[in-house]
């Protein structure tokens, strides 16, 4: 590549890991008219199915062979596996190619990339903010990212061209907002907007054991606990990797709960004012 005159649909795309996100990206790219989409997975039957449905052109059990032709490699593995993958394949990526990922924690992965030393590909982190409570290619769909937010987290070694290619990918798969954050800003922001929401859902489910809730819940409880139907291996890794930021946002959130406690202990109209103010914040989202 080397300049901005690229046609995304003609790129040789390689997706590492055909789970929910990897397969959904493949489907969305295919639907958008991309010509060359290859995939790797440890499960050959998954690759067979995706070939049968013409979601991917070729499937590989290991990436070694496929990497040398890939203009864009999208790593769709758990955060810690993404780091391992980069370390193990660092010399196999096509020269001048672009490598991105989809993980919900970034700073740690960038640390890994920096530790690789001299590399002849450009890495740019990506985070499509979409998912499901159920994983695997069977639950994948081309429309998963429609209307979703996408965050790009370039670092000092990401080339302008590679950033442009990842932005094209975000648009191609259906994301309607593409924003930029440094890996560090990303990890703090997402600790609040996404990981805290999951922590809260988990805490609520655990707390429900202290009460008799059967038959006594409404829509608010159901919505709040939805994401507690969690992939423990994926999210265990995410929470551990971003542990410091999450502890920080938990403490900040606990302070807000205390604010409300002190307001309702007054038993006057202060709470009405506070709720009205909150409604306006909510409407501003």
């Amino acid at each position: 590549m080397g300049n901005c005159n690229f046609n995304f649909r003609k790129l040789n795309i390689l997706i590492i890991g055909m789970g929910l996100i990897g397969s959904s990206i493949a489907m969305a790219c295919r639907e958008a008219g991309c010509s060359f989409i290859n995939g790797t997975d440890v499960d050959s039957s998954v690759l067979e199915k995706l070939k049968e449905t013409k979601t991917i052109n070729e499937g590989y059990l290991t990436a070694d062979e496929a990497l040398k032709d890939a203009d864009l490699t999208i790593i769709c593995l758990y955060p810690s596996d993404a780091a391992i993958f980069l370390r193990e394949h660092k010399s196999l990526f096509k020269k001048g190619s672009v490598v991105t990922d989809v993980s919900g924690v970034k700073a740690d992965l960038i640390k890994t990339v920096k530790e690789l030393g001299a590399i002849d590909f450009s890495f740019v982190g990506g985070h499509p903010m979409a998912g499901k409570e159920v994983g695997g290619y069977k639950n994948a769909e081309a429309g998963l990212f429609k209307g979703a937010n996408f965050i790009i987290t370039p670092f000092e070694s990401s080339t302008p061209e590679s950033i442009l290619i990842v932005e094209s990918m975000a648009n191609i798969i259906g994301c309607t907002s593409v924003r930029y954050l440094s890996p560090q800003e990303h990890d703090l922001t997402i600790a609040f907007t996404s990981q805290l929401a999951h922590v809260i859902a988990v805490a609520m489910c655990q707390n429900s054991l202290d009460y008799n809730i059967d038959g006594f819940t409404g829509g608010s409880f159901k919505d709040l606990t939805r994401v507690a139907e969690i992939n423990e291996n994926l999210w265990g890794g995410v929470l551990n990797t971003n542990s410091e930021n999450i502890c920080k946002v938990i403490d900040s959130f606990k302070n807000k709960l205390d604010d409300i406690k002190y307001i309702i202990m007054k038993k006057d109209s202060s709470i009405n004012d506070y709720l009205c103010e909150t409604k306006n914040i909510k409407r501003g989202f």
Copy 2:
């Protein structure tokens, strides 16, 4: 009435307050074939609209006249207004009739009922666990309670017949689970399942001011904050009235957040086990 041989559809029903809940109950009762549904509201244009659509038979600006014929009076006012209504109308209810309400806090209202002294109607609290972020008769619908949980909170003076009538009402309007709790148990349980969920949504919105979240949210944040679009007068009253229980559940919830904090600070597989356990709790709901 006086015995169990009643036909709910033939009861003279009076609904006090034709907001979202009152109007939805009227619509659901009408759809279920109830013959006599009257309503009161401070807004005569609301009553006119509901008469035009044949949702109610008659509309009244004050309840005084209508109460003397009502077999079942359903008070659909804010919690504190429900207490005022009972005090102001205590001698106007039809002898032997049933009076219920729909509010999310119960113990305080039962205290009011007890303070009324000798009454010749039977009061039974009711709580349909359904609602919307938007209020008023314009947002009302017959299907609002379809599949919802309904809680009946009898106290020592509630007659068996009156409890049966409120249970019939719950079924007629479409609730699929009817459970019983004492007013005190209700207020603690609901502080957790409903009011805490609202407090969390509110705290999350307020906390969002400390971060740059625009473009960085996903489905989990959206679902969690949904109910922060709140009717501040209704919910201000609910939170103030149930203040002690809510403070209790907030503290208990904060402890669960701390549990998670300490687990992820360890950065080992303990969090995976905890998330797996949580998923199983969630699946048990």
